[in-house]
C-alpha cells in the first residue's frame, strides 16, 4: 500500500450533480435526477482510488464532473490547488493538461476519421507549441510507453483490436504529462485476458510516472487488484470509503457487504462457504430518493432511524469512512469499540 499520509491531490467537497427534469407543456422544472448527491472524498497523490457501485449509481457522473465535463450543481473540486468547479473557461483550458480521462468504450472514444498519430497528437496540438518533428517524436515515445508498434501511427482506429484501441486512448491521456487520470471503466469493454494487460499497463505507468488514478469500475476483483482505497457508491452517495484490504476483509456498510458478497470466489472448494446476500427490491429512482438513508428500502439490517435521518459519512475506524447508523464513529465513542462490536455482529451474521 502506498503512503497515504501525503497531501491530497484531489479534494472533493459536497459535490452535487443534479440533472433537471422538465415536464408539461410549459417545460416547467419539476424535479431533479440526483445523480450525485452531496459526496466528499480525497484522493492522495500517487494512489489509486477505486470507485465501485452498481449500474446507475453515479460513478461515471462523478468522474466526468471531476473533470468538469459536466457543470456541477454545487460543491468544490480542488485538483492540485485549483477549484476546478469554478474556474473560468480559459483558466480551465490551461488546467486541462493536469487532469485527463481514459474512457470506457475504446471504439467510441476514438474519432474514426483520424489516424493514431493525429489522435495521440491532438492534446499536443492544443497545449504545446511543439514543432512537427518534436510532436512526432513525442507521439512515438507515447506509443512506446503504452506498448504500441510505431508502424501503427498511420492507421485508423477501426484497424485495431479493443485492447490496442484502449492503449491509444491511454497514450492520448498521457500526452500532456497529467498528474491525475480518471479511468472511467477502462476495462469494461475488453475481454478478460486483455483486461489484465491494460490494468498492468496502467499500474506500470503509475509507478513510472507517479500518476494518481480515480479508477471507476464495477469489476470488484479488478478494483481489489489495482486500488489502494475503495469508495462504494449507492444511489448517488458514498456508502463507505476504506483501504482496499480492510474493505474486502470486513466491509462495514451493509451495502458494501452485500456488494462484496457478489464477488466470485476462484477456489471452488471455498466457493461453497461464500454466502451471497441477495438484496430485495430495486434501486429507488435517483429522481425521488427515499427519506433518511438512501439504502433503507433494501437494507437487510434496517432500523427505524434509517427511515428518518440521513446518515453522514464518518470515520468508523482509522482510515475508514462509513455512512451508516449502525456503525458508530470513533470520535463519538471510545476508539470505535461499539463500532467494532457492531461490525463483528455483522460479520458473524454473515458467517465470515
Amino acid at each position: 500500500m502506498r503512503d497515504t499520509t501525503t497531501r491530497p491531490l484531489v479534494e472533493v467537497r459536497n459535490l452535487k450533480m443534479y440533472f433537471p427534469i422538465y415536464s408539461g407543456v410549459m417545460r416547467k422544472h419539476t424535479g431533479d435526477v440526483k445523480a450525485v448527491d452531496d459526496i466528499s472524498f480525497d484522493i492522495y497523490e500517487g494512489e489509486t482510488l477505486g470507485l465501485v457501485g452498481e449500474s446507475g449509481c453515479g460513478k461515471s457522473t462523478v468522474g466526468r464532473a471531476l473533470l468538469r465535463l459536466y457543470e456541477p450543481t454545487a460543491g468544490r473540486i480542488t485538483i492540485a490547488g485549483d477549484d476546478v468547479a469554478s474556474l473560468s473557461p480559459e483558466a480551465l483550458r490551461r488546467k486541462r493538461p493536469t487532469m485527463q480521462m481514459v474512457f470506457q468504450d475504446p471504439q467510441a472514444s476514438l474519432n474514426p476519421r483520424m489516424t493514431v498519430a493525429d489522435i495521440i497528437g491532438e492534446p499536443l496540438d492544443e497545449h504545446s507549441g511543439l514543432s512537427k518533428a518534436e510532436k512526432l517524436a513525442r507521439i512515438y515515445e507515447l506509443m512506446d510507453a503504452v506498448g504500441l508498434n510505431r508502424t501503427f501511427a498511420n492507421r485508423y482506429p477501426h484497424a485495431f483490436s479493443g485492447g490496442q484501441r484502449q492503449r491509444i486512448g491511454i497514450a492520448r491521456a498521457l500526452a500532456l504529462n497529467p498528474k491525475f487520470i480518471v479511468c472511467d471503466e477502462p476495462i469494461a469493454a475488453l475481454d478478460v485476458s486483455i483486461q489484465a494487460q491494460v490494468v498492468n499497463l496502467l499500474e506500470d505507468l503509475q509507478d513510472k510516472l507517479g500518476l494518481t488514478y480515480l479508477f471507476i469500475s464495477h469489476d470488484l476483483s479488478m478494483v481489489r487488484h489495482i486500488a489502494d482505497r475503495v469508495a462504494v457508491m449507492y444511489l448517488g452517495q458514498i456508502a463507505e470509503i476504506s483501504p482496499v484490504d480492510a474493505l474486502y476483509a470486513r466491509p462495514l456498510h451493509p451495502y458494501a457487504e452485500a456488494l462484496l458478497s457478489a464477488v466470485p470466489e476462484p477456489d471452488p472448494g471455498r466457493d461453497g462457504a461464500r454466502q451471497r446476500i441477495i438484496l430485495k427490491g430495486d434501486v429507488p429512482s435517483p429522481a425521488n430518493p427515499p427519506k433518511g438513508c438512501n439504502f433503507c428500502t433494501r437494507c437487510p439490517k434496517v432500523i427505524p432511524v434509517c427511515h428518518e435521518v440521513e446518515p453522514r459519512l464518518q470515520e468508523a475506524a482509522p482510515g475508514r469512512m462509513v455512512a451508516c447508523h449502525l456503525i458508530h464513529p470513533i470520535d463519538a465513542t471510545r476508539a470505535g469499540e461499539t463500532g467494532r462490536t457492531g461490525a463483528q455482529e455483522h460479520s458473524q451474521q454473515q458467517g465470515v
Partner: protein, 306 residues
C-alpha cells in the same frame, strides 16, 4: 500487440491523408468515369467557344438557316431562329454548370452551418430550427419570383445584366434550398455530439470551434455529400424553371434549362433540340452523383482500406 521495437527503416512520417483519399478515389470506377465526364463537359463549355463562334448573321441569312438538321456545318443543327445549336449548348452549359455549382455551394454552406450550430449548441437549436421550419413553410416559387422582381433591376444596374442576374439567381436558389441539408446535418450532429470522442476532445480542452472542425464536420461528410450532389441537379432545374417563367436570364441568353424549354414546343418535329440539353443536364447530374459517391467512400477510412 505488445511489441514495442520497430525497425527504423519501416518508420515513415505520417502520409498526407489526401494521398490516401486520392488513391482510394481512383479505385472507384464510377467516380473516375464521372470525373472524366464532368471534366470533359466543363472543357466543352469553357474551351469550346474559342474554337467555334456564332457568326453575325443578317435577318435574311437567319431565315435561310432556320431549322436545319444536323450537318457537317452545324453538328447539332440550328434552331427556329437559325442559331447554331452547338454554340448555344456551349454558351448555355457555361451558365448552367456554374449556376448549379455555385448555388449548391451556397446552399450546402448555409445548410451545414445552420445544422452544425443548431446541433452542437443547445441554445441555438430552438431559434435556428424554427427559422428552418419557417423557410420550409414558405412557398418557394412565389418567393423566388418576388426576390427576382425586387432585386433584378438594382443588381443588373450595378453589375451588368449577366453578372447581376447570375448573382441573383444563384443566391435566390441557394437561400431557398438549404433547409433539407440543415435538418439532416443537425440530426447527425446531435447523435455525434454524445459520442465519447467528442467528450474526449473536450476533456483535452479543445475549444468548440476546433471540436466542430476536427471531429464533427468530417463525420457528417456523407450526408452533406449526398445533399450536395442532389443540390446541383435541383439548382439547374430550378434555374431553367425561372428562366422559363421569364424571371431568370434574359430570353436570348441560352442556358441548358432554357434550351430544353424552348425545344419542348417543337419536340415532335425536332426531338434533337430537347435531347441535347436534356442529355447534358442528366450527364452533369449523374457524373456529380458518382463523384460524390466516390468521394464519400474515399473520405471514410473504414471503407478506404478495402
Amino acid at each position: 500487440m505488445t511489441e514495442t521495437s520497430a525497425s527504423p527503416a519501416a518508420l515513415k512520417p505520417p502520409r498526407s491523408q489526401w494521398r490516401d483519399v486520392w488513391d482510394q478515389f481512383r479505385t472507384h470506377k464510377g467516380a473516375m468515369l464521372g470525373l472524366i465526364v464532368l471534366v470533359s463537359l466543363v472543357l466543352f463549355v469553357t474551351i469550346g467557344p474559342f474554337f467555334r463562334d456564332a457568326p453575325e448573321l443578317t435577318i435574311a441569312q437567319q431565315i435561310k438557316l432556320r431549322n436545319k438538321p444536323p450537318s457537317f456545318e452545324f453538328p447539332f443543327g440550328t434552331d427556329q431562329l437559325g442559331r447554331d445549336m452547338l454554340v448555344r449548348m456551349m454558351e448555355g452549359g457555361k451558365v448552367s454548370i456554374s449556376v448549379g455549382l455555385v448555388a449548391m455551394l451556397i446552399s450546402i454552406t448555409l445548410g451545414s452551418t445552420v445544422g452544425v450550430l443548431a446541433g452542437y449548441f443547445k441554445r441555438l437549436d430552438g431559434p435556428l430550427m424554427r427559422m428552418t421550419d419557417l423557410f420550409l413553410a414558405l412557398p418557394l416559387l412565389p418567393l423566388l419570383l418576388v426576390m427576382v422582381m425586387l432585386f433584378r433591376e438594382k443588381l443588373s444596374g450595378a453589375l451588368g445584366p449577366e453578372a447581376g442576374t447570375f448573382l441573383l439567381i444563384v443566391s435566390a436558389i441557394g437561400v431557398t434550398s438549404w433547409m433539407q441539408a440543415a435538418r439532416i446535418v443537425r440530426g447527425e450532429v446531435l447523435a455525434l455530439k454524445e459520442r465519447e470522442f467528442v467528450l474526449a476532445a473536450r476533456s483535452i480542452g479543445t475549444p468548440p470551434r476546433r471540436v466542430i472542425l476536427r471531429h464533427v464536420l468530417p463525420n457528417v461528410m456523407s450526408p452533406i455529400m449526398v445533399a450536395a450532389t442532389l443540390g446541383i441537379a435541383s439548382a439547374i432545374i430550378t434555374e431553367s424553371a425561372l428562366s422559363f417563367l421569364g424571371l431568370g436570364f434574359p430570353p436570348d441568353f441560352p442556358t441548358w434549362g432554357r434550351l430544353l424549354y424552348d425545344g419542348v414546343e417543337q419536340m415532335q418535329l425536332f426531338p434533337a433540340r430537347v435531347i441535347w440539353p436534356g442529355l447534358a443536364i442528366s450527364l452533369t447530374v449523374l457524373s456529380v452523383n458518382y463523384i460524390g459517391d466516390g468521394l464519400r467512400d474515399a473520405l471514410d477510412p473504414r471503407i478506404r482500406g478495402r
